[in-house]
Amino acid sequence: MITLGHYLVVSGMLFSLGLAGVIARRNIIIVYMCLEMMLSAANLALVGFSRFHLVHGLPDYTAQSLVFFTITVAAAEVAVGLAIIVALFRSKQSVDVESVTKLQG
């Protein structure tokens, strides 16, 4: 039987996978994709919890509203983020994380 636990584990694995990508990848765009994966993993957890937290016998739609906001915010973040990445590419001709290491110490 598929329990909430299954969903949570899938969500956790997806989250971890995203984290691994964020740490391991050098292409900022791909890093950004991995970040989106992490957000989605969080969404999965939220939806999972909302389905099994019944309010009046229905899924808890406050949580689903948050998912809605998260998706929107993520979209806006992607837009701004990609703009910054484009600006970076214009100035460095690269989207490698190693191109931004001047500030340190």
């Binding site: 964020v22 050098r26 001047k102 500030l103």
Partner: protein, 628 residues
């Protein structure tokens, strides 16, 4: 009232002169001499008013904390009266003598100012009614001695000598202070001489008191004695006194012969109750005095500097006095109670006779030196008898007094008193060594007299020597009179009180004294008559048993090397452990934490992710188990 004049007049004189001598110019000399004369007169008045009853009174407040009082209070009794007379009388004479002797010195005001300071401090010691006050003035005489020895500070030897004198005395004071503290503690907070005497007789420090400890009494006595050792230049703290002769001769006469160096003896007599309470301490004191007397006498036989001969002689005589203190205490322990109420003390007796003739000898030597244009080597003098007749005769009288010309001079009586005490002490070594010292004394003094005053002038300066002015002769003559008569009954009554009760001297003692005088005199005449250079040459004596060299090594090895080592250790350990090590650790830590901030995004994301995992591990898996 009188006591305060005697005490404070020189103080203000010193203060005014030392602080304002540039404005005062010549007047400073007058102030100083004037104050010394007035003090002497006041002292005579004090002596006249003989109220021994009301003797311990407060002069000035100093320290008053709760139950504890350490004030300037004076104890006027027989001993302080006599001592006061000596101090103010000789002090006055030395002031007068200095008027002539220091006539051409640029720094005359400083000299007289310091002299006044000395008079103040010495008066303080004499009058002191408690040990703290005595310590205060004890130190202050040290200061004035320092200033006066270093009067010609441009000379390296004088500069070193004054420093040496002060430091050596400091070592003595170290012990003195410990002694005072011990007595203070044991006597429940009072260091009044009266209280202490009572305490030792019937109070908490008496042998039958509960908790009495013989070791403690001995320790206290020896600590106090250490103070006397410094001031009275007893072995092994004697090294400063010969060097102190770097000071002007009147100073040597007053401070380093007659009064200050005798202060140690005076103080020991003041606390004789303490010494009598401890047999061991009495023996040690007598032993050290005896050793000093003999050793210094041996050294004196081979000195060529007129002042140094006198200086070693002073050392030797001081040793005598100290030995007397010890011997009397030993005798008292053996049941030889002195007779009569409040009897005199042989040490005090010798102290005052010695003060007169030794001051006289120093002043005489000062006159000689003055006449010979600051020549001090006796082998470069000779034949002065004819050029300076008055000086010669007074000097001769002084010499004979010191040698102890039987039945005539005061020195004979006092020395006999000491030998008697040594004889009574039950320790024959003391007596034998004392007699030997007496022989040596006669020997070296005669040697000095012969070489300096007899024969032919051996140098130009001796040839051209002329008699010194009147102002310098007057003190010599006065002191010469005292040198002869001061031990005679009926002369200068306040002093007579210091004499031990008159007792038929033991025949042995009498014979020994006379024989010692004769042997020494004859030996010296035999050896030195008509000689142009020293026929005897004993390196060990001439070089003062190599004490100075030994001390130099000790200072260099023990103190300077130790200081060097400790400084190095301090740098390495304290600086290293307390400063450098923590600094280095923090710096390393800081540098390490900086490495976290490498500027690489991947590193940051790793840390962030790791942080999350770490926090989760901590919060979810560790903290709940700790059972907060």
């Amino acid at each position: 009232m009188n006591a305060s004049i005697i005490l404070l007049l020189p103080f203000f004189s010193a203060l005014v002169i030392l602080l304002g001598h540039r404005q005062l110019k010549g007047a400073s000399v007058l102030i100083s001499v004037g104050s010394s004369i007035i003090s002497f007169i006041a002292c005579l008045v004090l002596l006249a008013a003989a109220d021994d009853e009301n003797n311990n009174k407060l002069l000035l407040p100093f320290l008053d904390v709760g139950h504890f009082h350490a004030n300037i209070d004076v104890l006027i009794d027989k001993q302080s009266r006599g001592m006061m007379f000596i101090v103010s009388f000789i002090g006055m004479l030395v002031h007068l003598f200095s008027l002539g002797y220091m006539k051409d010195d640029d720094a005359k005001p400083r000299f007289f100012g310091s002299l006044s300071l000395f008079m103040f401090s010495m008066t303080g010691i004499v009058l002191a009614g408690n040990l703290i006050m005595m310590f205060i003035f004890w130190e202050l005489v040290g200061l004035s001695s320092y200033l006066l020895i270093g009067h010609w500070y441009q000379k390296a030897s004088a500069a070193e000598a004054c420093k040496k004198a002060f430091l050596t005395n400091r070592i003595g004071d170290f012990g003195f202070m410990i002694g005072i503290l011990l007595l203070f503690g044991a006597n429940g907070g009072s260091v009044n001489l009266d209280d202490l005497a009572t305490a030792f007789k019937s109070g908490p420090l008496a042998p039958d008191a509960p908790g009495y400890s013989a070791g403690f009494t001995t320790a206290a006595a020896l600590c106090i004695f250490l103070g006397a050792m410094g001031k009275s230049a007893q072995f092994p703290l004697h090294v400063w006194l010969p060097d102190a002769m770097e000071g002007p001769t009147p100073v040597s006469a007053l401070i380093h012969a007659a009064t200050m160096v005798a202060a140690g003896v005076y103080m020991l007599v003041r606390v004789s109750f303490l010494i009598e309470a401890s047999p061991l301490a009495a023996e040690i004191i007598a032993g050290i005095g005896c050793f000093t007397a003999l050793m210094a006498a041996l050294m004196a036989t081979q000195q060529n500097d007129i002042k140094r001969v006198l200086a070693y002689s002073t050392l030797s005589q001081l040793g005598y006095m100290v030995m007397a203190v010890g011997a009397v205490a030993m005798a008292a322990q053996h049941g030889h109670e002195a007779h009569g109420p409040n009897p005199g003390h042989p040490a005090m007796f010798h102290l005052y006779t010695h003060a007169f003739f030794k001051a006289m000898l120093f002043l005489g030597s000062g006159a000689v030196i003055y006449a010979c244009h600051h020549e001090q080597d006796i082998w470069k003098m000779g034949g002065l008898r004819k050029h300076m007749p008055v000086t010669f005769w007074t000097f001769a009288i002084g010499t004979l007094a010191l040698m102890g010309l039987p039945y005539v001079t005061s020195g004979f009586y006092s020395k006999e008193g000491i030998l008697g005490a040594a004889y009574d002490s039950g320790c024959s070594i003391l007596f034998h060594a004392g007699t030997l010292t007496a022989v040596l004394t006669s020997f070296y003094m005669m040697r000095l007299l012969i070489v300096a005053f007899f024969g032919k002038p051996r140098t130009e300066s001796a040839h051209h020597a002329t008699e010194v002015p009147m102002i310098m002769l007057l003190p010599l003559v006065l002191l010469a009179i005292f040198s002869i008569f001061s031990a005679w009954d009926g002369f200068a009554t306040p002093l007579q009180a210091l004499k031990p009760a008159h007792e038929r001297p033991h025949t042995t003692v009498l014979v020994a004294s006379i024989l010692a005088f004769l042997i020494g005199t004859i030996g010296a005449i035999y050896l030195y008559r008509g000689k142009d250079k020293d026929p005897v040459n004993i390196k060990l004596f001439a070089n003062k048993f190599y004490f100075d060299e030994m001390y130099a090594v000790i200072v260099r090895v023990c103190q300077d090397r130790l200081a060097w080592i400790v400084t190095a250790l301090e740098r390495v350990f304290v600086d290293g452990l307390i400063v450098r090590l923590p600094t280095a650790i923090i710096a390393r830590l800081g540098a390490a934490t900086r490495l976290l901030q490498g500027g690489h995004l991947q590193g940051y994301t790793f840390l962030l992710g790791g942080g999350v995992i770490g926090v989760v591990y901590l919060v979810v898996f560790v903290l709940p188990r700790l059972g907060h």
